[in-house]
Symmetry: C2
Subunit: 313 residues, 2 copies
């Protein structure tokens, strides 16, 4: 199969019901009274995922980390552009598994592929996705609305994806390997929550660089500080069993839970609502006057972290 | 400088006047009565440009090929997402030259950078851009409106970029090396023409894969054929001097002129208008009943092409 036959057979079906692969570019209709939210993330073999990752896992990770950014902005998924650079001509079995996983995610999160680019590279497999979503005008979430006293609420535990990475790198073995690998590759972007969170939260971000780093972004943008505690529920039960130090779990990235700044008056009802939906939300502290993130462990002792989060160079 | 300092110093200024680098994603306001046009293209060192290309040339090529797709759809540039994967930590001199060239192009084509992703890779320098533009609703150009009898009009000569590639690969020497290298790296996307072409053309495409291949896309989408002639003006004067066979110039890509299907009644006035704007438009033939692209040389003899255009695998 040549490039065009591959596009026809495997990539065009990702756009089914739309006309986008027919032309030089896609046409997106934006309903009145809405803004477009746009985000891009690269997923490169050896940098963002292990080189022997399955095509399904690569697909899930590549798309979902973008969807998580849409959720952090309060947007409902609309469409995505998919650029893939292949180091060798791809096998049909690989293409079939990869696009099959994308199709399942498209269905689950209500998004379609509006176009993209396939090419060859002398380097590793590289996937660049740009995801687009819709939000009612003026209702996007930002990082800059947190106020001292706002509760810091996580939509779920952090650290599992970091442990998954250690498992994949064969640095540790656990009794819950599958659980952690799933957390690393198949996070659940919280796009289903945006309607619930709208008009309830003052600020939002997703945990991609690591809890401490991401919380710091909100603090800086909002010109405030934060006090957090390693309370019960901040880590999952399987994570606690591994005995990995809290400082590592608090700074490992890729969890893709949302971190929210919630006015105290909205806090309890929101926690209840999220629990009803089957999530395990947790209040981990409060925003405060001043600046910087202060962390205490479950015994009230300060935790020091060396590097708050992930950097590429 | 670490990753975040580099982003702050070099990439954030590409978004000046917008708030987009503050949050997880960009917010784009789409004016009422408009559709969004979206296109993505990769530019990978060694695949899309020579490995010793200058940062300025890489910037121009990466952005402009996307802008050309917007023009081919009838869209005015709005914003773009910029994903870069660096094989080694980039030098400040490189970053300064690269982003400086992007800024100049942003000014020239009326677009800004709404966000993106910087990362590291074990492979070659890779740039993935997703460009977005606006078109009045329902007024986008497509590939499928060409009708038998429509004139085939090019907004400028083809083949120069192909010769530029040969020069860069040191396969040939010419007396106009700089002219051809400029054609290869700094094409002029025809976004300034979209308002003029709207309601005038039946179909449009940009010459990226090669004239024959791109004309074929229109023929297939429009369910018709095309007869073209290697008339005067289809190649530039410097190209004619090189004595490179027409079949190579007709199938080399990356020219980024527009190929238009124009009803005969609109043809002459359009050619005149484009000439007034300083372009060198040329009518190269007509769309016809049937299918496939038939080519004749300046003496009326059929030209056969081996491969109509570029493929990655």
């Amino acid at each position: 199969m040549n490039e065009f036959e591959i596009i026809d057979k495997y990539f065009r079906p990702l756009s089914e019901g739309h006309d986008d692969f027919q032309n030089d570019a896609a046409v997106l209709k934006i309903p009145e009274g809405h803004e477009l939210i746009v985000t891009s993330d690269a997923a490169i073999s050896g940098t963002h995922f292990v080189t022997d990752a399955s095509p399904e896992n690569i697909a899930h990770k590549s798309l979902r980390r973008n969807l998580s950014d849409l959720a952090a902005m309060g947007a409902t998924p609309l469409a995505y552009q998919l650029n893939i650079a292949f180091p060798v001509k791809p096998q049909e079995s690989w293409l079939s598994a990869f696009t099959g996983a994308l199709l399942r995610d498209q269905k689950e999160f209500g998004i379609y592929c509006s176009g993209g680019d396939t090419t060859s590279t002398s380097g590793p497999l590289s996937i660049n996705i740009t995801a687009m979503g819709l939000v009612p005008s003026g209702k996007d979430f930002t990082r800059k609305g947190a106020k001292p006293g706002d509760h810091i609420i996580l939509t779920g535990p952090v650290g599992d994806a970091f442990i998954g990475l250690l498992v994949l790198q064969k640095k540790i073995k656990t009794v819950d390997n599958d659980y952690f690998i799933n957390a690393a590759f198949k996070p659940t972007p919280r796009t289903a929550l945006v309607d619930i969170l709208r008009d309830i939260v003052n600020a939002a971000i997703d945990i991609s660089d690591g809890l401490v780093a991401d919380l710091n972004y909100i603090c800086k943008a909002s010109n405030c500080g934060a006090d957090i505690q390693a309370v019960a529920g901040i880590f999952s039960a399987p994570a606690l069993k591994t005995m990995i130090p809290p400082s590592d779990l608090l700074t490992g990235g890729d969890d893709y839970e949302l971190l929210l700044a919630v006015p105290p008056a909205n806090s309890e009802s929101l926690l209840k609502k999220l629990t009803t939906l089957g999530l395990a939300p947790v209040k981990i502290g409060e925003f405060a006057a001043g600046q910087g993130v202060k962390i205490r462990d479950q015994n009230g002792q300060p935790i020091t972290v060396q590097t708050p989060g992930w950097r590429h160079f």
